[in-house]
Amino acid sequence: MMMHKRKPTLSSIVIYAALIAFVLFCILPFALVLSSSFSDEEALKEYGIGFFPREFSLEAYRYAFQYPDDILNAYGVTVFVTVVGTVLNLLLTVLIAYPLSKQDFRWRRPMSFYLFFTMLFNGGLVPTYLLLKNYLHLYDTIWVLILPLLIVPGNVFIMRVFFQGVPRSLYESAVIDGAGEWTMLFRIGIPLSKAGIATVTFFIILLYWNDTFTGLLFLEDPKLTPLQLLLNQLVNYVQYVQQNAVVSGGMISAADLPDKSLMFAMCVIATGPMLFVFSFFQKYFVRGLTAGALKE
């Protein structure tokens, strides 16, 4: 039987055009950032940013990597924090979400409310600082980058929805075969919720990878500086020199420091690895995005 090729309708053309425009809106800014990171600073000031550098220059990357040990150390810290933090965070998220997904769990409602409440209110910056420093003694340790971010209530609710999507009959038949709760979780719940786990894992990876604030407040040891904080400090330093060149009375001329091109180079260095991670999680990501809207 011959397949007739359907002619594109006006509405499909409009829809595709809109989607292509949206894709370009997402991709083109990053292309601009990439191009600007390889541009000469003076050319950037004179001609602005463009899709191709007017004058090619690696000065921004040279400045960022002038102390390669620092960058490598920061990458190491960030990778360690991200890997360990993701594993622990995911484990706890799954362990909390699974019982919350069970209809026969008695404390389902109060626990859900307790989690939800923390999304609305928290103690504030000063109590958090005091708690982490004086009571938990996490100040200036690598665990301060991991432990405070271990539970994200939003991720718990996303996982809960995925676990709720597993047919109850599967659990019931597992119980009949003598399975306990741990077996049901790891042999039935988790394998059937891969999309949710991948989505939540990606969110957690992004959370740990992009975290600057925690290090800013709770770290002093330069060996514990994560990547985002290091890059943030570089950019802040350049801006400080430019704003306070007279006050500081230093020998550094602000014009010698790459400013805009350095910021773009920081973006590329910081987000580059995430591009590879995202491509790995992509097929699960779309399904996971709409998870919060679904309920059995």
Partner: protein
């Protein structure tokens, strides 16, 4: 019925929480576990060195790796002299303000930090009770430091008559001066006397503009921290905040510098320089290259200025001289 009871319990729990928050907010306690009450100057066991927590601002892109060597050397001297050790808490200068705000607001214990009107504001921290009153402690425990400065200088650190910080040794007298490109200065045929007024400085800028100077880097105009040097205005809460002490007057008085005639006249010169192109059009966003500059106004002229500025200008010969009286 069951749903209504649950809602009632939830409402009651919520009201209880709000009441607790209200009580916490009414508390007179400064909060925090360790309050900087100054009582920990000596440990009970005087054979154990006391650890001094010192928050320092590091002017660099990263914390120096050999800071521990500096700390060890400090402790080698300090332990011998006053049976104390210093624990340095380095914070990059760009983050220093935020970090110290958090430390002070949290009531966290510390012993020393850098403070000034322009960073980690001194008066603000005094208001927040972040600094300890050392007015009576200074003459008793630091008599040499106390004797080092005149009462007029100590009065700069007084807030409502009390002192909360010890003054560090820095340039105190501010002298207005100029740093000029030597080659351009000699070619212009002008003399140092010509620069006693801003008209002379303007004439020099015009000469640079019309005789091959790099127009993007002729001058930056006024140093915003130079109120004291150029006008005799000692700022109280930062150069941009209205309210300065006019020490040039016969009787020092607090005035609003933005309403002062001589300040407004100086601003007119700045506008004139900008309009004529001596200050580049993109001055607010572009980075000024000192090494390529021709005429700079300085608020801290000092005898070594020429050598320093020649170095800053990457070896291009400079000539520096004062253009007005010094103020302190």
């Amino acid at each position: 019925m069951r749903g209504r009871i649950t809602k009632k319990k939830a409402a009651a729990a919520f009201c209880l929480c709000m009441f607790c928050f209200l009580l916490a907010g009414c508390s007179g306690d400064k909060g925090g576990v360790a309050i900087n009450d100054g009582s920990g100057n000596l440990t009970d066991d005087e054979s154990q060195p006391y650890e001094i927590d010192y928050w320092i601002a590091v002017e660099a892109a990263g914390i120096p790796k050999d800071l521990s060597l500096v700390e060890a050397e400090i402790n080698r001297i300090v332990t011998k002299k006053i049976n104390a050790t210093v624990k340095l808490h380095p914070v990059l200068v760009g983050d220093y303000e935020n970090r110290m705000q958090l430390v002070v607001n949290a009531g966290d214990k510390f012993d020393l930090c850098f403070t000034s009107p322009w960073m980690n504001n001194y008066a603000k921290n005094v208001r927040l009770e972040g600094f300890w009153d050392i007015t009576d402690l200074l003459p008793e425990y630091a008599p040499k430091t106390w004797a080092l400065y005149d009462e007029r200088i100590w009065s700069a650190a007084r807030v409502e008559g009390r002192i909360y910080g010890s003054i560090n040794r820095q340039i105190m007298a501010r002298t207005p001066g100029v740093t000029l490109d030597r080659a351009m200065y000699e070619a212009s045929g002008m003399t140092q006397e010509d620069f006693k007024t801003l008209d002379g400085f303007t004439e020099f800028l015009a000469y640079c503009y019309n005789n091959g100077a790099d127009r993007a880097n002729i001058t930056q105009g006024y140093d915003p921290q130079g109120l004291i040097a150029f006008f005799g205005f000692d700022d109280i809460n930062g150069a941009s905040c209205p309210g300065v002490v006019d020490v040039s007057a016969d009787k020092p008085a607090v005035i609003n510098q933005f309403e002062s005639e001589k300040f407004r006249n100086a601003l007119k010169y700045s506008v004139d320089w900008y309009k004529k192109g001596y200050i580049p059009a993109d001055a607010l966003t572009a980075a000024f290259d000192f090494s390529k500059s021709y005429g700079l106004l300085s608020s801290t002229w000092k005898p070594s200025q020429e050598g320093e500025d020649t170095l800053r200008r990457k070896g291009r010969a400079s000539i520096c001289f004062p253009i007005g009286p010094s103020y302190m």
